[in-house]
Amino acid sequence: MCIKPGEIVGMTGPVGAGKSTLLRLLVGLLEPDSGIVQIDGYPSRAKKVKEMVGVLFQHSSRQLFEKTVYDDIAFGPSNFGFDRRDIERQVNKAVNIVGLDKSLLEVSPFGISGGEQKLVSLAGIIAQSPRYMVLDEPLAGLDTKGKTRLPHIIQTLQNMGVGIIVISHHLDKLLEVAPRIIYLRDGIICFDGQRQQYLLDDSLPLPPITALMKRLHARGLPVNPATFTVESAIKQLEKLEIGDVDDA
């Protein structure tokens, strides 16, 4: 398995498949029993790796502790020895990317909502300007606004050349952001390839909308069986003519 800078990889699999273990291996929190994990040529245990790889943990709001949101976002960069000017710039950039309200910067991170806390911890990681990021269930706890915002955040980061692994159970959202999908089961990579191939593989779990479109396609309707967003499904269905449905 290999991840390039600026690549977005979606990782999914049932509970206990080893997603979180893989995450911990990637950032050097665990040592592999066999094999090697390297990040830009550094072994995963190297201190530099912590700086290069940012991790958004599943229960990321648990890591907040500072007096204000600003201080919390600045915690990472100040540990890595950035100077104060840089930190301010980094924090502002990160806050802009995640789309956090500037007025929140001076309040306590414990007084804001769960979704905002998630964004604050995400901003804290972006402020470290990592070269790679691992996001473990970034959607959990986000409200609708946050959920629609997340693909944009990931897109922005990709444009900055950050390699991103997104771990999630929300297949439809994952397919939306990640052109490459890795499916884990019982600690083994069952699938690693492009989104389109994933959608055509019948042995893997699919989002409901894809399953529906596949069934329609099998019935002879002229729809794309590899559809994974509701929007595109609606467009395709609207194009259908009464005759098509009758034929099927």
Binding site: V27, L29, F57, F65, F75, N79, F80
Partner: protein, 265 residues
């Protein structure tokens, strides 16, 4: 099999495991009282008893590791006793003289602590937390709960909750630690590193307690009598064991053997 934590339970089916928790609790208490009555010879005899029970219990507790948390205190106590009790001096160091009376007194006090800890660890190693809680709850039931403001049932709940949540908190702390590690913890700012662990841990713990309390109340927990999931029953062996311990207590109470140089047994 060695347990992970200090004073933790080791599953098994020895006769000590099968005894009623109340028997073991009362026996441990009686033995603790006895430990404070005894002098050096008696402590050695009691240690022999402990070793017999230890081998019968078939749990392998790390006997020395149990002592590690209090080892510095034991060493300090011993040194103070050795040098500060007046008597026949057998060694002089920097103006202080070590006395034989001090040596025996020091050994006696250290021996007491060691025995207390070892018997306690034997109790916890052979009694599962659930049984222990049930036993304590049953023993405390005659207490006038209304007057004290807390009933034995509430004490039991508090105990079992705190016992069960220790590993949970442990895991929680590890999670927070890993998250902060990825944010560069341990590079600079030592004190703030500690803060960055303590605050999320405390906050998480209070939050978890709040959730648990709400969950329990919404399932009608009221802090009074609840059906126990297993029944405690004193059988013949329990009474026999208690009798034995009681006989031991009475027998040793005022016994005066001086095999080892000390005033009393």
């Amino acid at each position: 099999m060695t347990p992970d934590y200090f004073l933790s339970f080791v599953p098994g089916d020895s006769f000590l495991h099968k005894l009623d928790p109340r028997t073991k609790l009362i026996a441990t208490m009686l033995i603790s009282i006895l430990i404070f009555r005894l002098h050096l010879t008696g402590l050695v005899l009691l240690f022999a008893l402990f070793m017999v029970l230890y081998y019968l219990s078939s749990v392998r507790i790390a006997l020395l590791r149990n002592l590690r948390p209090i080892a510095p205190f034991l060493i300090l106590i011993f040194i103070f006793q050795l040098f500060l009790i007046p008597g026949n001096s057998f060694m002089d160091m920097y103006g202080f003289s070590a006395t034989s009376a001090g040596l025996f007194e020091g050994l006696r006090i250290v021996g007491r602590f060691v025995l207390l800890i070892q018997f306690a660890s034997l109790l916890t190693a052979t009694t599962s937390p659930a049984h222990m809680t049930a036993g304590i709850e049953r023993l405390l039931r005659p207490l006038p709960g209304k007057i004290l403001g807390v009933t034995s049932f509430e004490i039991a709940t508090m105990m079992s909750l705190s016992i069960h949540l220790v590993p949970v908190l442990n895991r929680f702390l590890r999670e927070v630690y890993q998250a902060q590690l990825c944010r560069g913890l341990g590079r600079q700012k030592r004190i703030s590193g500690l803060v960055s662990l303590a605050i999320p841990l405390l906050r998480g713990a209070f939050r978890m307690m709040d959730d648990i309390a709400m969950g329990m109340e919404s399932r009608c927990y009221q802090g009074n009598y609840r059906t126990s999931l297993f029944e405690l029953k004193m059988v013949k062996y329990d009474w026999m064991a208690l009798m034995l311990v009681f006989v031991l207590l009475l027998g040793f109470w005022n016994l005066n053997i001086t095999l080892l140089p000390s005033y009393q047994i």
